[in-house]
Structures are given as C-alpha cells and as structure tokens.
C-alpha cells in the first residue's frame, strides 16, 4: 500500500518560489520575511490580517514572525500588520491595477506569477443578490504553489487501457492532493510515458488551480501537448475545447453541477477521454449526489481513484474499475 503513496518529495525550487512571493509583499514585510533562514520549500501559507500578527504556515505548523525576522510560536511577539502593509501588498499583487482582477476578486483569489494563489477577503458588495465586488480587503492569504512532478507515476498503469486512457474520476476530500495528482496525470498524458504515447490534452481550469496561468502562461508544467482554457466555467469550457482544439483527453477539476454532468456526456459522445476530480470520500458517497449518481450507474467512468489524507496527503486509498471491482487496496464494493 505504501508504495502507492503518490506524493514524493517534489521538485520544488524554494528560492524561486520565495522570490515570486517576496515581491508581492509590502517593502517592510519583504525585508522581514526575506531575513528568515528557513527551508522555503516547507513554507505553505503566509496570512496577513490588518491589526493582527503575520502568520506563516511552515512545515504544517503555525508560526508568527517577530520584528527581528525570526519564527516564533508566541503571538505577542509577532509583527502586527498595518493597513498600509495590506494596501501596498494589494498594489503589488494586482500590479497596481486592482480593477483588472475584478472577476478573480469576486471569486476570492488572484493567481500570481509562479502559480501561487492569493486569497482575499473583505467587505462584499452585492447587487441584485450577486457579488459585485469586494471592498476594504483586509485579509490576505498567500498559498504557495506545490507542484509535485512524478506523483502520478503509480496510478498511470491503472488509467491506461490497451494503450488508451480510461475515463477516470479522482475522488478525494479537500486538501488531500487531488488537484496535484490531476495536474501530474495531465502532464504525463501530454508528454507521453511507458504506458501511453503523448496525446493532446484539453484542460478547463475554472479556478486556475491546475495550470495556474499567469497572463495566459501556465506556471505549472502541464505537458507539451496541453491546451488550457483558463477561468472558464467547466460546462462551457469542455464544449469549447472539443470544438476548437480537438483534444484526445479532457481534464477538469471538481465536477459538480448539472451543467457539468451534461457537458461530461458531450465529451464522452465525442470520443474524448475524460479525467476529472470530485470532492468525496468514496464511490458510495458520490452516489448520493443526483447528477454524479447517473454517471456512476451508467458506468461512464472506467476508473475511480480514491484519495485519502488521513495518513499522508495524497495517499491513494483505493482504485476501482467501472463495475466497482477493486483494482488496488480496499475490497470489492
């Protein structure tokens, strides 16, 4: 079982990552954080809240940063973030152009160079019940991108059927590495591997999580034959890709609504292969959802990969085929 834990130490260039993140912090914070002598690969999040101390999630633990540029567990010693810090940081994040990120801000995040995601919160302005904009942004969460190349190596034999890709659904609770796994599957399919030749992959990246495009350029390695529709709703994007880019495989993250399910049928009827992810704990769990249940009962997906983060993030718990036969781990369902 352990040999299938799919999150090996990735190829993360810590210095490059921190440079990308440092340049979006206010000058005061930049100098302070830049002074830390830590392993940047272990840095997961930087949280800024006005009038509260700066928090860093480092090696799965929470720390504060003292005025002397040291990590501390004592919140009283943490440097307090000012309104000017947040304002300046927002200017750098948006390249002095917050208005240009209106749609991203409505969704609550901006993707910056390097694929890092900046979550934003503040006062939400509604118009006719729809979010118009977010004003007075006072909370910023910078999440470091962690691309882990090679993490799909162990699942590739299961998703290739006689030199073809199987329609695959990755089922996982949040923060268990499903997007990371999907990204690496996309890269491997696109570049080609021992089991499958390289093929054209179309990705609908609704929340810029897979390729993390910055100004249209993928910041993560998604392979040489991959086309990306960035920030596009999945239901439209899948059809657009079929019409415009003729992909052999379509990949989407977090299937959910009825429109997504309709689009899945279009993909399958067009002869494209589908790799998708969904939030959940098991096949039984997703069977309770009306749209997805139909896909499961009609045996649309040929492989189900169940992830579980209980022991380790990205651990592959079970792999099933369309009939529910267990191909790896667990028992037949």
């Amino acid at each position: 079982m352990d040999n299938l834990v799919c999150m090996p130490k990735g190829h993360i260039d810590g210095d490059k990552h921190i440079d990308e993140v440092l340049k979006i912090l206010s000058v005061r914070l930049r100098r302070l954080v830049g002074r830390l002598s830590i392993n940047w690969c272990e840095l997961q999040e930087i949280r800024l809240r006005i009038n509260e101390p700066i928090i860093m999630i480092y090696g799965n633990r929470e720390y504060f940063v003292s005025e002397f540029g040291m990590l501390t567990s004592n919140s009283d010693k943490g440097l307090v973030i000012t309104q000017a810090d947040v304002k300046e940081t927002l200017e750098y994040i948006s390249n002095y152009s917050l208005y240009a990120y209106e749609d991203e801000i409505k969704q609550g995040f901006i993707t910056i160079q390097g694929g890092h995601r900046v979550g934003l919160a503040g006062k939400v302005v509604l118009e006719n019940g729809i979010i118009k904009c977010v004003r007075h942004i006072s909370f910023i969460n910078i999440r470091m991108s962690h691309e882990i190349k090679g993490c799909s190596r162990s699942v590739m034999p299961f998703i290739s059927l006689q030199r073809e890709v199987a329609h695959t659904l990755i089922i996982s609770p949040p923060r268990c590495g499903k997007t990371t796994l999907l990204r690496d599957i996309i890269r491997t399919l696109s570049d080609g591997n021992d089991f499958l030749p390289g093929m054209t992959v179309g990705v609908v990246d609704e929340r810029s999580e897979i390729a993390a495009c910055y100004r249209g350029i993928p910041q993560n390695d998604v392979g040489i034959r991959t086309d990306i529709l960035d920030c596009c709703p999945k239901s439209y994007g899948m059809l657009m890709l079929i019409r415009s880019m003729s992909p052999q495989v379509i990949a989407v993250d977090e299937l959910g609504g009825y429109q997504d399910i309709d689009a899945v049928y279009s993909v399958i009827n067009c002869g494209c292969k589908l790799i998708a992810t969904i939030h959940g704990n098991s096949i039984d769990d997703i069977r309770t959802r009306p749209g997805i249940r139909k896909l499961v009962e009609e045996r649309i997906f040929e492989r189900y990969i169940i992830l579980n983060g209980a022991k380790k993030v990205g651990q592959i718990c079970e792999i099933f085929d369309q009939r529910g036969s267990c191909l790896y781990g667990g028992e037949r369902i």
Partner: protein, 173 residues
C-alpha cells in the same frame, strides 16, 4: 546712429520674441490639456475593452500621445513595470514631478493630475470609468477655457511685444 538702429532693432526683436513666447506657452498649455483628455479616453478604453493593467496601459498609450504627456506616460510605464519597491502613490508623485518640469500646465491643472493618481488602480472597472468620466469633464472644461484664451493671448502678447518694443526704442532714442 547705426549702433542706435541696431540696438533698437535688437530691443524690438527681443520684445517681439517675449510676446511670441508668451503666446506659444499658452498654445502648448492648451495642447497639453488636449493630450490629457486623449490620455484619459485611451485609459478608459484600455480599461473597458482590454482590462489591461496600468503598466501595460501606460506603455500602450505613451507612443500614441505627444509632448510632455507622452514622456510622462512612458516614465509611468517604466516605473510601474520595473519598480516593485514603491507604492503607486509614490511612483505617481515622482511622475508628476517629472511632468511638472516638462509641462506648461499651471498649478490648478496639476491638481487634476494629482487627483487622477488617487482615482486609478483601485475599485472595479465601472467605478473607475465613472470617476474618469468626471475627471474628463473637469479637464475638458479647463481645456475649453484655455482654448478660448489662446487666440486672445496670442494676439495680445504679440501686439504687446511689438508695441512694448517700439515704446522702448522710442524712449532709448
């Protein structure tokens, strides 16, 4: 006598040049206001249709403008894309200092430019466009006033230059 004629000619020429320079100054000021209006319109369209970021906007519009406004936009584009160690306010203030050195606009006009710096970059596109619309109306009003003044000042300064020169020559002779 020849020296007197030469001296008188020089005085007359200098006086006429001063008059012409005053008229020309007014003409350039009007042109700069007109360029500012064009700049605001270009910023509006870049924001509305391309939703470009400010560094790109300034880089795009600088070659489409003339004179000191073009120089200033070029400076802003360069600073916004390269200098990620200063707030927008600081970059804008530095830009205004450079523009002020090159420009013929008066203090009242510069206040509009300072106001522009406080408006752009923040909020959503609609709010930006509405604010720019208001600023456009204010600057356009100033432009109309200056444009009306331009012909009058040019004629007046020209005539005053000649008459003042003649007056000085007569006194000196």
């Amino acid at each position: 006598m020849i020296l007197k004629i030469l001296g008188g000619g020089l005085v007359l020429f200098s006086s006429c040049s001063i008059g012409h320079a005053i008229g020309r100054n007014q003409e350039i000021r009007t042109c700069e206001l007109s360029e500012l209006l064009i700049m605001i319109n270009l910023i509006k369209s870049e924001m509305k249709y391309a939703v470009n970021e400010l560094p790109e906007i300034f880089a795009d519009i600088a070659p489409r403008l003339k004179g000191s406004v073009a120089v200033w936009c070029g400076y802003m584009a360069e600073q916004l894309s390269e200098n990620q160690e200063a707030s927008f306010e600081k970059i804008w203030d530095n830009g205004i200092k450079i523009f002020d050195r090159e420009s013929r606009l008066c203090e009242g006009h510069m206040q509009y430019i300072k106001k522009l710096g406080k408006l752009i970059g923040h909020m959503d596109v609609d709010a930006q466009l509405a604010q720019l619309e208001l600023l456009f109306a204010d600057i356009n009003h100033e432009y109309e006033i200056e444009r009306e003044k331009t012909n009058q000042i040019k004629k007046l300064a020209g005539s005053m230059g000649i008459l003042g020169g003649i007056f000085l020559v007569i006194i000196m002779i």
